[in-house]
Amino acid sequence: MADLISKAQQALERLLKKHADEAEAEGEESGTSSPEARPKIAPRPGAGSGPMNWPAEALGFPPQFWIGTAQHVGLQRDHNEDALYAAHTILAAGTYQSRSVGLFVIADGMGGHLHGEIASQAAIAAFTRHVWNHLLAHMHWGLRSTPPTEIYPVLHYAVAQAQDKVLEEAPGGGTTLTAVLALDQRLFVTHIGDSRAYLYNPLTQELRLLTQDHTWVHRLEELGELTPEEASRHPHRNVLYKSLGQGSDASAEADISLERWAPGMMLLLCSDGLWDVVPDDAIQEVLAWASSPSAAAQRLVRMANDAGGPDNISVIVVAYRPTKRATRS
């Protein structure tokens, strides 16, 4: 028996080592190598940045959405009120109609213990459930690649469901909600509060904010009453005029917008625990040079803590990988 076990163990070890070797040779981060390891393959000329943007062939990887998440309570809070959600599948995979579908959500709760964390989780639960039931389930189980119904009303109603759920489960609590529904090259951004979604384009090195903060301070900045510097240092800069669970149902209306991204680009969702302490150019550098979305997400969290970690930190990074086509080029 011991014999068999040790043989199996050895076989397993050999398999793991083979996998690790292959992964290392192809530059992909494995469980054993350090996140910072620079891969050995030279970047494609013109790509302008790091491994996440290299063609799939270089890495030998088919998946279209490459996802990394990271979360930390921060250095000054004693519990976590953020919630995050990242789900991905490929519909009609392998066919002409194949579509990558992803749903990524961040919710930053408020209201203290037993309010904040319940609010953020309740919001995500209700929102994602509604989007799945009314949009994605039909596509997934019906093996279709076209949404069955109008998209915007589904998203608005999902937010209304989230609002109801927060009021029900965490009365007195509140939460932000920033969600991105990715259907191949289409991004549907649903947003309320001051969590953020960014889009990074490595070719232009541009980090673009897709959402606007629903903070009073940002509004004053828009009106020209505060400069961006004043706004970023303001002691009340986190006060929201729109969120779920607080205020009236009339103000719990989310912004919904349609964005487009292309293979090579990257999506970043984060709570203010990240963007409030780590400047945009530092974020950009991480996205440009990290070896994987996981590495990027972890590094961003570390940077937020290095900057003091005053709040809970949640990060989702999604890299849009080009597909490996069935036919050879």
Binding site: M110, G111, G112, T146, P147, T149, E150, I151, Y152, P153, H156, P171, G172, G174, L183, D184, Q185, R186, W216, V217, R219, L220, E222, L223, E225, H236, N238, V239, L240, Y241, K242, S243, Q246, G247, S248, A250, S251, E253, I256, L258, R260
Partner: protein, 674 residues
């Protein structure tokens, strides 16, 4: 966290004395004692107040984790309910009187002897109007004890709170701002909670409700001043300004009568359900509007711009007074609430018809389509089988080209050639200069679709069920796409996709080589020319909807239901879609959610598209009128009567001085673009 009950005070057993009992639940048991003590303090404070606008407090008590306040029972509706349930705007006089009453009670609170009280929560849902039109301030913030504000969360009444309130600043000027915000909401019916904060100046009151005199608008905006020092410095000051306005700022009398007395008591909790019924009864009494008559020309005095212009002597057009122009249908601009019962307004004050055509050209049969302007030539097809080319300035005939069927499509041009279709089943290409026939292509059915020219290819549909792609130089069909049903809609080309609909309700996106990229299925036929803005395609269908579809994928983003068929051509400008429907309504919808910004009721159907020029939008209806509205508020600027139904879309000349529109009376009108 609070519920209100209607209760009977049993201290007076022999009569029915009704009171309101407000029950509040303590959500955080750890804070119970603290909350109960705060509640007691507030109850004592309330009991000290004595003002007609403040409900009397009779008693308070607590039981378990609930606290109760026994209050005077107020009958009536909140301002919030009134705004939502009343079709059209509330009468300005009433609103001003209510404002004076509110300023008065705020003054009382701010100058209260023992401790100045800042209400902090002035908003329409906290103001009740009784059947005797008394104003009552309700919800005294006692609920705030039960929902303590937390750090990093929202503070104050969002939408109605001034900028300094987020800093926790407490001053009477907060209530003044909130009163201004409340009045703004009531007079424009625009809920500030749905807009970005402090954006009242982006929605000028008079743009939405021209009944509001400028003096009143100024008072409200002073209360809404961004900096506290720029506002009225006291409620008394604001009250005085409102009173002065009421006395001097208004001309004439005619204030609406008092409301009919209510016949039955209504528990406060059910008030919302009764609002519509009660106020339907109210609104059956026609409100008369004191003040200036409805302006026809916009306030900048454009009335003078339409000085009489020379017009062809054979025009037999007379200018009937508006009295008979207003058909039996109620007319006028309504913001929202299109499903609410329509208020019968008195006929708008006669619009002095100052619009005179620059010229009129008469053909021999109906003009159903839209004109096309190229350089100094106007091209128009008529049901009399001809395509006409006229001088754009004076309407002189340059040439006319006969076909064998009605010409119901809008011509297209590449600058040198003119392309159009005819009921005689052909697609024609003529030389613009002299109408020489260059080529004509037969199809299998009548051509009603208006062609689209893009990079030497002409796209046009036919009743034979095909969309044709024709090489214009060679006069050859490159390919044709089988749509499966007659194609009467007019295609457009955007970013290498040809977009059009069919009689069956299919809407197609076809690639430049004739293959289908995607299709959307509507329930009934599509006749319009679609519009595209920001990667979204808009089109109408006889199934009664306006669709907004993602250009790349064909996914339906959102659709708007008219309830009646539509063949109108949507026009998109600056985030607004302008479109009409067979219910005679012309809509302005925001592109984000296709929500109605405003709507305008005409006398019959709006089947054509609109022309947007400057601050105005122009369109025709089958009630024979050409309308010009302010595009932001939907207010009528002028209307011009022709002698036939209009189904085309107005087009303008290059200089932007004239618009051209044809009607079923066979005439093409050139109207000054004012």
């Amino acid at each position: 966290m609070s519920t209100v009950y209607l209760a009977r005070d049993l201290h007076f057993p022999r009569i029915e004395r009704l009171v309101a009992v407000k029950e509040m639940t303590i959500t955080n048991p750890r804070l119970k004692d603290h909350v109960l003590r705060a509640f007691e303090r507030e109850a004592h404070l309330l009991a000290q107040l004595a003002h007609p606008a403040i409900p009397a407090v009779y008693d308070y008590f607590s039981a378990g984790d609930r606290a109760y306040l026994v209050l005077e029972y107020i009958r009536g509706h909140t301002l919030d309910q009134l705004v939502r349930s009343t079709p059209g705007f509330l009468p300005v006089d009433k609103v001003v009187r209510w404002a004076i009453a509110l300023a008065d009670v705020l003054h009382y609170l701010h100058t209260h002897a023992t401790r100045p009280i800042i209400f902090r929560d002035v908003k329409p849902s906290n103001v009740m109007i009784t059947p005797q039109e008394q104003v009552k301030l309700i919800d005294f913030g006692i609920a705030r004890i039960f929902m303590p504000e937390q750090k990093g969360t929202m503070i104050g009444t969002e939408g109605y709170a001034p900028p300094e309130q987020y800093r926790g600043v407490l001053s009477p000027l907060i209530d003044i701002y909130a009163l201004g915000a409340t009045l703004h909401h009531v007079l424009t019916k625009k809920d500030p909670r749905k807009e970005p904060p402090f954006s009242f100046h982006e929605r000028p009151i008079r743009q939405y409700n021209p009944e509001v005199p400028p003096a009143l608008e100024r008072i409200i905006y002073k209360a809404l001043a961004y900096k506290p020092e720029d506002r009225y410095q006291s409620a008394a000051e604001m009250k005085a300004a409102l009173e002065a306005f009421l006395q001097h700022g208004h001309a004439g009398s005619g204030v609406a009568d008092a409301l009919p007395p209510e016949t039955q008591a209504m528990p406060p909790a059910d008030a919302a359900n009764e609002a519509t019924a009660a106020w339907d009864a109210t609104m059956a009494v026609e409100p008369t509007f004191a003040g200036e008559p409805t302006q026809v020309m916009d306030a900048s005095g454009d009335a003078d711009a339409t000085a009489a212009m020379p017009w062809t002597p054979d025009a037999t057009q007379s200018m009937p007074p508006d009295a008979d122009a207003t058909a039996a249908m109620p007319e006028g601009t309504r913001l929202m609430g299109r499903d609410a019962p329509r208020a019968r307004r008195p006929a708008a004050r006669p619009a002095a018809q100052e619009v005179r055509p620059a010229w009129i050209f008469e053909t021999e049969d109906e003009i159903r389509s839209s004109a096309r302007v190229v350089g100094d030539t106007v091209l128009i097809g008529s049901y009399d089988y001809n395509l006409y080319a006229l001088d754009a300035r004076d309407g002189e005939l340059r040439w006319k080209f006969p076909t064998r069927g009605g010409v119901v499509s809008q011509p297209a041009t590449d600058g040198r050639l003119v392309f159009f279709g005819s009921e005689d089943q052909h697609i024609y290409a003529l030389r613009l200069r002299d109408a020489t026939l260059v080529w004509k292509i037969p199809t299998g059915g009548a051509v009603y679709s208006s062609p689209w020219y893009a990079e030497r290819i002409l796209f046009v549909g036919s009743d034979d069920g095909y969309l044709y792609a024709i090489h214009t130089q060679r006069g050859q069909v490159l390919w044709r796409f089988a749509a499966g049903a007659p194609v009467r809609s007019s295609p457009i080309v955007v970013g290498h996709l040809v977009l059009f609909g069919s009689e069956d309700g299919d809407f197609f996106a076809v690639t430049p080589d004739g293959r289908e990229k995607w299709r959307v299925r509507a329930r009934r036929g599509i006749h319009c020319r679609p519009a595209v803005a920001d990667g979204v395609v808009y089109f109408t269908s006889v199934d009664g909807h306006l669709y907004a579809v993602d250009l790349e994928t064909g996914w339906v983003l959102v659709k708007h239901r008219f309830g009646r068929p539509s063949i109108s051509w949507p026009v998109v400008t600056e985030g607004v879609v302008y479109v009409g429907a067979a219910n005679g309504v012309f809509y302005a919808l925001n592109t984000r959610r296709l929500k109605v910004q405003w709507e305008f009721q005409t006398g019959h159907q709006v089947n054509g598209g609109a022309l947007v020029h400057g601050e105005a939008v122009y369109f025709g209806a089958t009630d024979q009128f050409v309308y010009s509205l302010h595009r932001r508020s939907g207010q009528l600027r002028w209307k011009f009567r022709t002698r036939g139904a209009i189904t085309g879309t107005p087009v303008r000349n290059e200089r932007g001085s004239l618009l051209y529109i044809g009607a079923f009376d066979g005439r093409l009108y050139a109207l000054p673009l004012t």
